[in-house]
Subunit: 321 residues, 2 copies
């Protein structure tokens, strides 16, 4: 039995719990042992919690349980996730996260702490939701020198741009609509001003080029100034407008940008609409490969979280023999 | 030092040699040790071989060298690759292959032999050229129950269908042109009659559903009867015609088909043109994810071959400590 704890029982945390229950049998078969959620940490009260007996408000309950070997951090933001992650790693527990802000800000340091404590800090879910991208960069494409990595990394802005194009409606109106549908936050700045894309391109750049970039120093432009006229103009030129995050290696230096770009209709990125994401990796042997799928949402993100849990669980099982 | 041997120095074998030379430094950095090609086996004579001192016509030279731990099999076909692979695995050497025919026919048995001998038999390059797909199924998406896997798995037929559509030319004429350009074989049956796609869908079905399927029993239809009129008709209906390989799980049984299908223009597969491939995986949590890239060609395939070599090399390095 591999015991895990989930800290933060929001959209991603609850979907991660669901996948451990719903796919329990096949996960057991694929790992060679079962994975069980032993504790769920959240400061909130829940009316209809699926497993109230696992709930605690105190993170120390996880730290004091030596049978828990993996912690899923799905709190989001920097506090208290940074502190909890550090504590878990230093206490010999591996940590899996979907928290792009934390990885973009402290990923290098937390990975180092994990290494020193002979555990893992994995973050497949921090970029592109359910789309495999971190592990492909580290493994499947590891024979390549990477030249460039770019893509549509934010579902909210892509949804807004798609609706503006398809329905000819202005930005403010579509944003309001997206907020009502739950696709955009009430304070939409992190998405529409490109901060979220900056964090993701910063994580990708670190994994692909081995160089940490400060997300706040990235040359950034959001989509709030895009007008219906811009979109018409792009259309007339055989293009669609997409918010693109881009990291490029030039003479050994990494250059990152986040900005709306006109993408020609015959470019595979042009077909990526609504809340979908896609990431293109350019390697010196593989040329261009693209990874496409749902870039957000509880279930898709839980798929990525759980793939990291499975990787660590397999290592634990292998180390027993 | 991790020593490898390459058997079969054709398009894939020579590109694999190239990647070990050209990306030697970064591969060393990523593994923690260097990878060196110690022997190259081929029965042919070469006028301008890049490393004549490594050449041998005798596979036993590889078997008799205990310092070689990984064999790259890029001979293709069933003979003598089956025999050589078996010999290598039983002799305690891991084998990496791009040989879809061998994997589709004897993959289950060879994987079992590898397991018994505590080595690996890896075949990322056997489907989709450089596109990561085997490892994502085994790892990145391992938390999912797979419902269906389908895609454009053959570059030659996709090139022919794209040219027919774009230039309005008939099948026979485009095929001839593709043969002259080297995109189609002189005997094009394996591609245009769908046999190649059958082998690939059979490998994907085995990896995703854990069930071996006999490639020869798959319901198969090629593209040789597609007319310019069919393509016009599809266009009028807002579709493009693509040769699709498909494996589906229905009530615990796997159903595989290979046939031309009309794909709506807003489907991401519709944009996959010319020699590009794309594979869609449908999981119960991740929903649809698509992997897109060059499905063939020496350098892209060598990227996948080398990713398997790197995985095994990392295990060897880790086992030393």
């Amino acid at each position: 039995m591999i015991n895990i704890a989930i800290i933060g029982f929001g959209v991603v945390g609850s979907a991660t719990y669901d996948v451990t229950i719903q796919n329990a049998e096949l996960i057991k078969e694929r790992i060679g042992d079962s994975v069980k959620v032993k504790k769920i940490v959240d400061v909130r009260d829940f009316d209809n919690h699926p497993a109230p007996e696992l709930l605690t408000k105190n993170f120390d309950d996880v730290m004091n349980d030596p049978t828990i070997s993996i912690v899923v951090e799905s709190i989001g933001g920097l506090r208290p996730s940074y502190e909890f992650t550090k504590k878990a790693l230093m206490g010999g527990k591996s940590v899996v996260t979907s928290n792009k802000e934390l990885v973009a800000t402290h990923g290098v340091e937390l990975t180092e702490i994990a290494k020193q404590n002979k555990v893992s800090y994995l973050f497949e879910a921090s970029v592109g939701g359910g789309i495999p991208i971190i592990r492909p960069l580290k493994q499947c494409l590891a024979a390549n020198e990477f030249n460039e990595i770019f893509g549509i990394l934010n579902g909210t802005t892509n949804y807004i741009l798609t609706q503006m194009r398809e329905e000819g409606r202005p930005f403010a109106e579509v944003l309001k609509d997206a907020q009502q549908k739950g696709y955009a936050e009430l304070n939409p700045s992190a998405d529409i001003d490109g901060y979220d894309t900056c964090r993701k391109i910063c994580i990708l750049s670190w994994v692909a080029f081995g160089k940490g970039v400060d997300a706040e120093k990235i040359d950034r432009k959001g989509i709030s100034e895009i007008t219906a006229k811009d979109i018409e103009k792009a259309k007339a030129a055989g293009c669609v407008i997409k918010l693109i995050g881009r990291a490029k290696l030039i003479d050994g230096e990494v250059y990152c940008t986040v900005a709306p770009e006109a993408i020609p209709l015959d470019d595979p990125l042009a077909i990526v609409d609504n809340v979908y994401n896609a990431i293109v990796v350019r390697g010196n042997f593989v040329s261009d490969v693209m990874f496409y799928g749902q870039g957000a949402g509880g279930r898709a993100t839980a798929s990525a979280v759980m793939s990291d849990v499975i990787e660590i669980a397999r290592t634990i099982v292998a180390s027993r023999t």
